[in-house]
């Protein structure tokens, strides 16, 4: 390789930690997060390619390509096989615990190990760069993924979420099940897998993050050996225009459950880029003040038997072309929960958040984020997903520590609009 890696150290006084961001000449971005006292090391190699990428145009394409739903996930399964065997069989020789996952906007391959770190890393870098698909191996996976889809059909938390996304989004592919359907995956061929692989598994579109007991020089030497330089190319995700409105305010499904489940979401208009770390931090503090166990809303829902502590939660569900605040849980009366949340949002809009409540919410969000840095797996997964969204971990933590009460409240100008809310309910079969 003609050029050297460019290395930048990123450190946080608050966390008392640091990591390195490396631009490798192959095109790959690499993040190395040393945890010298750890026994284990967690490595994750991912591509910015997920279930929402079912229509795209890459450098050199005459026109946009549309591919079957579920193909990114199918590709994830199939990449484990190569001409000379299966990646799990190779990891069996190092003792690493390996896995992979596909989300809405990324596909990641990972392992965790305490011995043979560099041997395991070599396997990871090798198999992800070595696609091998045949009619026969692609066919074999239909039964396995078919059962994965059937398992999710029986998972009420999964159903209630996708039903909500279908009520919020008219066209955005975030509403489509990550694994696709039995019908859509039947259309997947080796040629289609190769074509998606070449488009998205370009090192310029990928990142590697390793947290744990590592020597950065040794990792980089191995990267120099293993990474096959990719031609610089880019790919554009193509989404049909998404109207600002929601599709419908209420959706219900009956399933074999004992307690009804709900997800109640507020859709937001989305700008071209992703939300900034500051906006994320402010939203997290706002939601903490609004709906944590210390909030008046939580107390009133609990006292009236409308939620339980084991299941009630909230999240800021945000990605390329979509953003919503979602409250979820189990409830005997989900509509009453939604009504209570809407009214409380109205009250906070009028009255604001008290100084004490703001400080407590900020402390809680800050503490939780620092505590999460105990775990190499959490760090590696967070750093890579932040990188794909153009964000950085310590800037987010600083944004929480430095958040200002007025800015937090001003998030309500664009968030939690009751006119753009919808509820999804999964209720027991009668």
């Amino acid at each position: 390789m003609g050029t050297e890696s460019k290395i930048r150290e990123i450190s946080s006084e608050r966390a008392g930690e640091h990591y390195y961001e490396i631009q490798h000449p192959s095109g790959l971005r690499i993040f190395l997060y040393p945890k010298e006292k750890n026994n284990s090391t967690y490595a994750i190699f991912g591509t910015k390619y997920g279930s929402i990428d079912n229509c795209f145009q890459a450098t050199g394409d005459a026109e946009p390509r549309r591919v079957p739903n579920g193909i990114a996930h199918y590709l994830e399964h199939k990449l484990f096989e190569s001409e000379d065997g299966d990646a799990f069989a190779r990891y069996a020789k190092t003792g690493a615990s390996a896995n992979a996952y596909t989300s809405f906007d990324m596909t990641c391959y990972l392992f965790s190990c305490t011995e043979n770190v560099y041997e395991s890393l070599e396997i990871l870098l090798d198999f992800v760069q070595s696609p091998y698909f045949t009619e026969q191996t692609v066919q074999k996976e239909q039964g396995i993924i078919g059962q994965e889809i059937r398992m999710y059909d029986d998972t009420p938390q999964w159903r209630v979420m996708f039903n909500l996304l279908s009520a919020l989004y008219h066209t955005h592919p975030v509403k489509i099940d990550i694994a696709g359907t039995t019908d859509s995956i039947a259309k997947i061929t080796p040629e289609l897998l190769y074509s998606c692989y070449r488009t998205f598994y370009n090192l310029n579109n990928m990142a590697l993050c390793i947290a744990g007991n590592i020597e950065p020089e040794r990792v980089l030497a191995l990267c120099d050996k293993m990474l096959k330089p990719s031609l610089v190319s880019s790919v554009e995700r193509i989404f049909e225009p998404e109207p600002e409105s929601i599709v419908k305010p209420r959706v219900e499904q009956s399933l074999s459950v004992a307690v009804p489940l709900f997800e109640f979401g507020f859709k937001e208009s989305v700008a071209k880029g992703r939300a900034s770390v500051r906006q994320l931090a402010e939203t997290d503090i706002l939601l903490e003040a609004l709906a944590s166990p210390a909030s008046p809303l939580y107390r009133s829902l609990l006292d009236d038997g409308l939620i339980n502590e084991a299941s009630f939660s909230h999240e800021y569900f945000e990605g390329p072309g979509f953003a919503s605040v979602i409250f979820s849980g189990e409830s005997s009366d989900p509509d009453a929960v939604a009504d209570r949340i809407r009214r409380e949002v109205g009250r906070v809009r009028r009255e604001g958040i008290g100084r004490d409540a703001f400080r407590r919410a900020k402390n809680a969000v800050y503490g939780r984020n620092l505590m999460a840095l105990n775990d190499a797996g959490v760090i590696a997964n967070t750093v890579i997903s932040l990188a794909f969204a153009g964000r950085e971990l310590y800037s987010y933590i600083d944004a929480v520590a430095d958040a200002d009460a007025d800015a937090v409240l001003s998030r309500l100008e664009t968030q939690l609009n009751p006119d753009l809310s919808a509820i999804s309910i999964v209720k027991p079969v009668r």
């Binding site: 945890k35 006292k37 615990s97 190990c113 059962q147 029986d154 084991a310 969000v365 620092l370 505590m371």
Partner: protein, 427 residues
């Protein structure tokens, strides 16, 4: 690096173990009470950790308590009930940020210790009873937790299999008891159950993470000294070595995918010498993506997405779980048994054996990297070799021979086959 645990005793029947480790950004203090698992007392015991963590004399109000926890950088007060063999383990714990990371120099860990101590020993009793509103809330939430288990069909099928397999053993009692038992709970008897819990249970306190254990030891020593305890009640654990006959049960529910759970008597349990061999046998048979079950039932036959085994060394049982189409249930069951026969016959390579060892050792060596891992490990060692580190366990597993693994597999007997099947017609 090897993480050693410091062990001592607060008083008779109350153990105290600590690991001080500055690489963690957190402090975790947990107190575990052990009771015999019994139909008559299970629900009254089970509600206590939840009642005790929702209010205290100093913080009688749920919101005020949670405000205080948020102020303490999102500290978490948790209640948990689990089974460890025929014992019911009732746990309360608190987790928080280490002092050095507080934004304004607050002292967090001292308050975590005092708070947890006061939650356990100073409940906000009214007329000698736990307050009515909290009691009703916790009853409702326990019932909803049990109901929610039905929502998770994998978990539900496992629970049903255990219910059938242990119908005439203490282990067959659910960790919370039944919904009917919870509904029937009365507030007036609970204060006595709480007193029994703190006075006569075996107790284990674990203090882990970036904090000096001394002040915690002092807080809890003082609290337990006030009780004037005299020892702890015994908690026996029964292990059935061999299945006499095979139970067979099928339930029908409105589900897309059928679940298969097979329960085996493993033939050995802690503290027997053959336990490491059995752990290795389960790893090789169905514990990893390189195991016999994964490679055959999933990869070769494409019958399922998941098929794996788990060994419970306290109770001496092995369970295998899978999710398949109804019409494939018997094929999957046959193959699961066939693969077990292969292991018994020694039909695996030295590489397979080595891979199972590496995989288990990897798990053991990873335990010290998280407080949850350390807590789970040392808690599980309460009744066996308390000082055994995960690293020592890894050595023991590494020393197992092929013959010992085969011998372990030969002692496994099928006890119960449970199926949860969907409607026959496809969507």
């Amino acid at each position: 690096m090897i993480t050693e645990v410091d062990r001592r005793s607060v008083c008779d029947g109350v153990g105290f173990r600590s690991i001080r480790e500055s690489r963690f950004k957190t402090v975790r203090i947990s107190v575990h009470f052990f009771r015999p698992l019994e139909q008559e007392t299970v629900s009254a015991n089970a509600i206590l950790p939840f009642l005790l963590t929702r209010a205290s004399k100093k913080y009688p109000d749920y919101t005020k308590l949670n405000e205080h926890l948020a102020e303490l950088y999102g500290a978490e007060l948790d209640a948990d009930v689990q089974k460890m063999g025929d014992r019911q383990v009732l746990s309360v714990s608190i987790t928080g940020l280490a002092d050095r990371y507080a934004l304004n120099g607050e002292k967090i860990s001292g308050e975590l210790s005092r708070l947890l101590c006061s939650m356990l020993f100073e409940p906000p009793l009214q007329d000698g009873m736990f307050p009515e509103d909290g009691f009703e809330q916790e009853k409702r939430q326990m019932i909803e937790t049990l109901e929610a288990e039905f929502n998770d069909k994998k978990l539900y099928a496992l629970r049903r299999c255990e219910e059938i397999m242990f119908s005439d053993e203490p282990y067959g009692v659910g960790r919370y008891g039944t919904q009917e038992q919870i509904r029937a709970l009365k507030r007036d008897g609970l204060t006595k159950v709480w007193q029994q819990l703190i006075h006569s249970s075996k107790v284990e306190i674990l203090v882990l993470g970036d904090c000096d254990p001394e002040p915690v030891f002092c807080d809890f020593s003082a609290a337990f000294a006030n009780l004037g305890r005299s020892g702890a009640e015994e908690c026996p654990n029964f292990v059935k070595k061999t299945a006499a006959q095979v139970n067979d049960c099928t339930d029908k529910e409105d589900v897309a995918q059928s679940k298969l759970v097979m329960g085996f008597r493993a033939g050995c349990a802690e503290p027997e010498k053959s336990v490491p061999a059995m752990k290795l046998m389960s790893a090789l048979y169905g514990g990893t993506p390189n195991s016999k079950l994964f490679l055959n039932v999933r990869e070769k036959m494409s019958l399922c997405y998941y098929c794996g085994s788990a060994y419970n060394p306290t109770k001496g049982i092995l369970t295998v779980q899978s999710g398949v189409e109804s019409e494939n249930l018997e094929r999957a069951k046959e193959e699961i048994l066939h693969q077990l026969d292969d292991v018994r016959a020694g039909s695996f390579t030295d590489d397979d054996l080595q891979a199972a060892k590496l995989s288990l050792c990897n798990s053991y060596h990873t335990i010290s990297d998280s407080l949850d891992g350390l807590e789970g490990w040392y808690l599980s060692k309460t009744f066996s070799d308390q000082g055994r580190t995960p690293e020592k366990e890894a050595e023991m597993v590494s020393a197992v021979t092929k013959e010992e693994l085969i011998a372990a597999a030969q002692n496994v007997t099928l006890d119960t086959v449970y199926r949860l099947t969907g409607n026959e017609e496809k969507e």
